[in-house]
């Protein structure tokens, strides 16, 4: 399967958007070579702000830029972008609905080597709880490109979560991205797997395995956690025997919370795959770390199997 790096695609897309729209400004907290905003800086230094290692000030400064008509993107690792700058996102940006985009890079466990201080298991929960905030978790590079363009057109605060490592392509090139929509990636009739981020490709692997066991699995990419089209989530569960949710995030406040809330009262059994209420840790390899936290295709398969039986 072809893979792309979400950070690389993000950096290239910002550059592309910056060429077309003079109002785009980029803010960085000394991680430009990692978040790939360095591509934008090279061509548009006058619209690029190195804010030093100061995420709080960067976030409120972005609010100020947006108040002069700019579309401001703040960048850092997700754990700092959403965590350290929480109050600035809440007060400076979200209460007045300012046009600031917050990109949380190296999200989830994807910064596998750096350990718990640099991994974000709760960023989605924190951002979802803020009124006026849009929260997006793209599944691959293609979706990052479409999403970045779309949030640039949307007026208001957005949090977008980006993975550090290369991810398999799953989002169809000819599919438009719309904020709030969920996407059927593979159809099936027994089980529905709601997933986002890296877990969408793992859900597809699981669906292939399940097919061999005569279990037909539908895979839905829930890249928009907020807002979310509740009706389409309900529709994807119609006639289904079991629901699996799969996310690279704490089970508290992320995809599992969203789906089980929407489908409360449906009576369909649910199994949730995600990070149990704990922090990450260092590993030499991303897959090794994901496996240690149960974020695998095999785990999706066994959960689906249990739901069917």
């Amino acid at each position: 399967m072809k893979t792309q790096n979400q950070r690389q695609v993000y950096g290239e897309t910002l550059l592309d958007l910056g060429r077309k729209n003079k109002n785009i400004v980029i803010l960085e907290a000394d991680l430009g070579k990692s978040t790939m905003t360095c591509l934008f800086e090279r061509e548009f230094p006058e619209r690029f702000f190195e804010m030093g290692i100061g995420e709080a000030n960067m976030t409120s400064f972005a609010a100020g830029l947006s108040l002069t008509g700019k579309i401001a993107f703040t960048n850092s690792f997700a754990v700092f972008a959403a965590g350290r700058a929480f109050d600035q996102i809440r007060q400076s940006i979200s209460i007045p609905k300012l046009n600031v985009k917050i990109t949380g890079s190296s999200a989830g466990l994807s910064d596998f080597g750096d350990g718990s201080t640099h991994q974000s298991v709760e960023d989605v929960a924190i951002m979802r709880a803020i009124p006026n905030m849009t929260v997006l978790v793209p599944a691959d590079g293609t979706e990052v490109r479409k999403m970045t363009k779309k949030i640039c057109e949307y007026h208001g605060p957005v949090y977008m979560r980006i993975n550090r490592n290369d991810l398999p392509d799953v989002f169809p090139e000819d599919q438009d991205f719309e904020i709030g929509k969920s996407y059927l990636i593979r159809d099936g009739s027994d089980i529905v797997i709601y997933a986002n981020g890296i877990m969408v490709s793992r859900a597809l692997q699981a669906a292939e395995q399940l097919e061999k066991e005569n279990i037909s699995a539908r895979v839905v990419n829930v890249s928009s956690l907020k807002p979310i089209d509740e009706n389409s989530i309900k529709k994807f569960a119609a006639g289904i025997k079991g629901i699996v949710t799969a996310e690279e995030h704490s089970l508290i406040g992320g995809l599992a919370s969203v789906i089980t809330y929407i489908l409360r009262g449906s009576g369909i059994p649910v199994s949730a795959i995600g990070i149990e209420d704990k922090f990450g840790q260092s590993a030499h390899d991303y897959d090794e770390l994901l496996e240690a936290y149960g974020l695998t295709a095999d785990n999706i398969v066994s959960s689906a199997r249990e739901l069917i039986n």
Binding site: G52, N57, F61, G64, L65, L67, T68
Partner: protein
């Protein structure tokens, strides 16, 4: 406006503050009253702005980083006709335009949402940078407090403003020497103030924050300085103009009795 007229305006603004607090409700009297002359000079003399067109693109910006002093800004905006004057009698009422802290979504003339201390200065820096990208001549005036500068974000913003040479940014530090729990020097000493800002690369000036002529002269002087952000340390009295509230911590955010209310009105009329 003449100096006399500006002095009179400052008194009117203080009277508006008292009316907004009224009897039986809490209000940030102290830190609002300490700013009356500075706000009078900015809104009624210095700044380019249009009450009939609050979003006029060429306007100067006013940001109250110490957002709890919202009453002084409301007092000025009401006098200038940004909104009907009756609104000042509805401060903090459910559904009112005038919230406990400045809200740009509800109040014409308010430029940002401030109140979580330390953030307003960063917002002001971002505005100054944005205006410069667009080649605008507008200036950004931002007011911070001497208690507020305990916030680390103030110093992040201070570094940013000098690194980016934001000389269209003029900050007033309301040095009224009291924070919510007592004297700044005793509770959490933020001194020495001028030395800190100088070390952070700012042009530093000082003024008597209740002397209209001195405030105007200082503003005119700092305007000539280019290539760095400017801060005017304004020596003020918390609760200034209301005799029983001057330098009294309890009036940081206090309630007025009927008697205190009447007395303040008499003193300010």
């Amino acid at each position: 406006m003449t100096i006399d007229e500006l002095e009179k305006t400052a008194r009117t603004l203080r009277l508006n503050i008292i009316k907004m607090i009224g009897v039986g409700h809490k209000g940030h009297l102290g830190g609002s009253c300490s700013l009356a002359e500075i706000v009078a000079v900015l809104y009624f003399h210095k700044m380019k702005h249009d009450p009939h067109n609050p979003l006029w693109e060429e306007r100067d910006r006013f940001l109250l980083s110490k957002g709890h002093a919202a009453l002084i800004q409301y007092a000025a905006l009401a006098e200038l006709g940004y909104f009907p004057k009756e609104e000042i009698f509805k401060v903090k009422c459910l559904g009112a335009m005038l919230q406990g802290h400045p809200d740009m979504q509800t109040t014409p003339g308010v430029e940002a949402n401030t109140g979580s201390l330390g953030q307003g200065l960063s917002i002001a820096c971002g505005m100054a940078a944005g205006l410069r990208i667009d080649g605008k001549k507008s200036k950004v005036y931002c007011i911070i407090g001497d208690g507020e500068i305990a916030e680390g974000q103030i110093w992040e913003a201070a570094m940013t403003a000098s690194f980016y040479k934001l000389d269209n940014l003029i900050v007033f530090l309301d040095k009224n020497r009291l924070q919510a729990m007592g004297p700044v020097v005793e509770r959490y000493n933020t001194n020495p103030v001028p030395e800190k800002w100088k070390a952070f690369g700012w042009h530093v000036a000082e003024t008597n924050g209740h002397n209209i002529k001195e405030i105007i002269d200082t503003l005119d002087q700092v305007e000539m300085v280019t290539g760095k952000p400017k801060i005017i340390i304004a020596h003020t009295v918390k609760g200034k103009g209301v005799s029983y509230a001057e330098n009294v911590v309890a009036f940081h955010n206090g309630e007025l009795t009927r008697e205190q209310f009447d007395r303040a009105c008499t003193e300010l009329n």
